[in-house]
Amino acid sequence: MTERPDHLPEYLARLADENAARFIGDGLLSGKDSVPAIALNQAAEPLPESPRWRLRALRDLIDDAMYIYRDDRPTQADAWLAPRLHAILRLTRAEAADSALWNYLALGVAPDFVVWRHRSESKKTVNARYFKGPYHKQAFARLWWSAELFRNGSDYEPVVVACGNQDMLNTVLRLDVIDHRPIAQALVGLLRREVVRTGREANALGKAVNTAAATLMYDAIAADVERDAGALRRWIDEAEAGISVQHRPLPAGPAEEGAPQDSVERLTDHFAELFAEAPVRGKEEGQAEAEED
C-alpha cells in the first residue's frame, strides 16, 4: 500500500519535473509502493523556512479530508478540500504556476492521498498525470486552481458548487474562458439554479460557451473589476505571519471585491440560452462515464 511518507520535513519544497519523474514508477501508480521519502527530499529544493510554507498544516488537512470521506466516493472530497487547500496554501498565481511545488505535494507530502483519490477502479492504477501533470489534471493543482478561478472574491461558496460537479474540474477548468471571473461565476450560477445538473450537461455548457467566445468578447459585454494587488498581498502576509485556518467552517479567501453582480447575471441568462440550444452528448454515442481514471 502507498502510505503517507515516513519522513515529513517541517517545510514544503520544490521537486523539479525531471526529478519527479524518477519517483513515479509502476509500483506507485498501482498503489503498491510508497515513495522513498529520504531520497525524494534529497532531490527536492527547500522553500524558505517561513510559516507560509509549513508542511504540517497541509498534511493535517489532507488527513482530515481522507478521514471525513473515508466512507464516501473519494471524488466527493474535492468540494470540501479545494477551498481549504487554497486557504491554507496561500500562493500567488505565479507561484502556483510552478509545477515543482505540486510535484512535491503529490510525491513528498501526500502520495497516499493521490492514490486514494485517483486510483481507477477499472484499471487499478493511477494516471501518472495526477502526480505530475498540467494544472487542470494534477491532484493538488486542479483543486487549488479551481478554488482560485471559481471563488468570488473572498467567497469560496461558488468553489464548493463548482467542485461538486466533476466535469467542471475535468473539462471546464482547463478552458481559457473561465479566466474572466463573471463567466466562471455565471457557470456556477447555472449549477446553482440547477439548470445544469450532470457532468455531461456541464460539459456541453462549457463547450458552448467556449465556442461562442470565439466571436463574442464577454469582457466587453460583462465587465469585471480590476485585480486588487493589495488584498492578495495582505492575505499572503497573514500566512507569513502564521495564521491558522480552521478546517470545519468554510474559510474566507483574499478580501477582493466580488465580480459585479449585473455582469454575472447578464452572463447567466445568456448562458442559459446557449445551454438550452446545446446538444448534450447522450449515452448512445458511447461516451464513457466521466473520467475517473
Binding site: A16, D17, E18, N19, A21, R22, A39, Q42, A43, T92, R93, A94, E95, A96, A97, D98, S99, Y135, W145, E148, L149, D176, I178, D179, H180, A214, T215, L216, M217, Y218, D219, A220, I221, E226, R227, A229, G230, L232, R233
Partner: protein
C-alpha cells in the same frame, strides 16, 4: 480556413506599447527606460525594472485600426478597442478599454495594469476590436495582426529563448545526474525549459567546450557542439510531441511555449509537404498508433541534424583537418 456568420473588419490592426512603468507599494512609480521594450521584437522586458519589489506594472498601449471600422454606414456600431493580456500559465486575463485619440479616429490608446503576481514568465498582449453587428453586441470584428510578449522576468526584450545550459560536475551534482558520471553531457527536456547538463567532471570536457579557432581543439569543439545540439533537438522534439493535448476527434492541439516553437521549426523537415497542423497530426498518429513510429525516427534525426547544423560543422571539420594535415606535411 475560417469563416464567420457576420461582417468582420478587413485590414491591419496594429498594436504598440508606448510606455511601461512599475509601482511598488508606498514607492514612487518607476518609468522604465524605452530599452525595456522592443518595437521590432514586440517584447516588453519587465526584468529591467530597478524597483525590486514592484507589485503592478502599467503598460501604455496604443492601437491603430482601419478607418472603415467607424465610418458611418458600415455594419458595425458601438465600436470599442480592447487590449487583452493573457498568461496561460497563471490563467490570467486582464483587459482594458482603449480610448480613441480623436473622435472617429484610427488611433486608440489606454493603460493596462497587470499584477506581478499574475505573471509567471511571459504574458501575451493583443488588441481586439469589438462591435455590435446585426444587433449582436460584443462581437469580435478584428484582432491585432501581431501580438506583443510581456516578459515578467527577462532583462532583454527579445522573443527568442535559449534552452538552459548548465555546466556541472555530475559526480557531486544533483542525485539524478550522478547516474551519468561517465558521459560528457545529458539533455533533459522535461520541465519549464529544456536543459543541457554538461559534465565538467568529464576529463577535457571544459577545454573542448571553450576551444575556439581553426586548430584541432577548435575543430573538435565545432563538431561536438553541433552533436550536442542535435541531441537537444531530438530530445525536445520527443518531449514536445509526448505532451500534446488531444481534441475530441483525436486531433492534437498545437502546443504553446517552447514546445510549439520546436514543432514549428522541426515539423517541416520531419513531415515535409504538409501543413504544420497536418504534419503534427501525422506524427501524433504514428506515435500513439500501431505502426510508423520507428520508421519516423530517421526523419526526426534528419530534422534535428539540420537544425543543429551538423552537416556544415562536419564539412568544416573535415576541411580543417585536411588543412592541418597539409600544414604538417609542408
Amino acid at each position: 480556413m475560417k469563416v464567420f456568420p457576420y461582417s468582420r473588419l478587413r485590414g491591419t490592426v496594429s498594436l504598440r506599447v508606448d510606455a511601461v512603468s512599475v509601482k511598488a507599494p508606498e514607492q514612487p512609480r518607476e518609468q522604465l527606460d524605452s530599452r525595456a521594450r522592443s518595437v521590432t521584437e514586440r517584447v516588453v522586458a519587465l526584468g529591467l525594472a530597478e524597483t525590486e519589489d514592484w507589485e503592478t506594472a502599467a503598460l501604455t498601449v496604443s492601437a491603430t485600426i482601419p478607418s472603415k471600422a467607424t465610418e458611418p454606414g458600415g455594419p458595425w456600431s458601438d465600436v470599442v478597442v480592447v487590449a487583452v493580456l493573457t498568461d496561460r500559465t497563471t490563467n490570467t486575463r486582464v483587459t482594458t478599454r482603449l480610448v480613441p485619440e480623436s473622435e472617429g479616429g484610427r488611433e486608440w490608446r489606454g493603460e493596462l495594469q497587470v499584477l506581478r503576481a499574475d505573471l509567471f514568465e511571459r504574458g501575451v498582449l493583443t488588441v481586439q476590436v469589438v462591435a455590435t453587428v446585426d444587433g449582436v453586441p460584443g462581437r469580435i470584428i478584428a484582432e491585432a495582426t501581431d501580438d506583443w510578449v510581456v516578459d515578467a522576468r527577462s532583462d532583454a526584450p527579445v522573443r527568442e529563448q535559449t534552452f538552459d545550459i548548465k555546466e556541472v560536475g555530475f559526480a557531486k551534482g544533483p542525485r539524478w545526474l550522478q547516474n551519468f558520471v561517465d558521459i560528457p553531457w545529458i539533455v533533459n527536456a522535461a520541465g519549464r525549459l529544456p536543459t543541457v547538463h554538461i559534465n565538467t567532471d568529464f576529463e577535457g570536457m571544459t577545454d573542448v567546450l571553450n576551444a575556439e579557432g581553426r586548430g584541432p581543439e577548435g575543430l573538435v569543439n565545432e563538431l561536438m557542439v553541433s552533436q550536442m545540439a542535435a541531441d537537444v533537438w531530438i530530445a525536445v522534439f520527443h518531449s514536445a510531441i509526448g505532451e500534446l493535448e488531444i481534441e475530441d476527434d483525436g486531433t492534437p492541439l498545437f502546443p504553446y511555449g517552447w514546445q510549439g516553437e520546436v514543432l514549428r521549426e522541426m515539423l517541416p523537415d520531419v513531415v515535409p509537404d504538409r501543413t504544420l497542423e497536418d504534419a503534427l497530426r501525422e506524427v501524433h498518429r504514428r506515435r500513439v498508433g500501431a505502426t510508423g513510429w520507428t520508421e519516423l525516427q530517421p526523419r526526426i534525426q534528419y530534422a534535428a541534424m539540420r537544425r543543429a547544423g551538423v552537416p556544415a560543422a562536419l564539412t568544416e571539420t573535415v576541411r580543417g583537418l585536411d588543412k592541418l594535415k597539409r600544414e604538417d606535411e609542408a
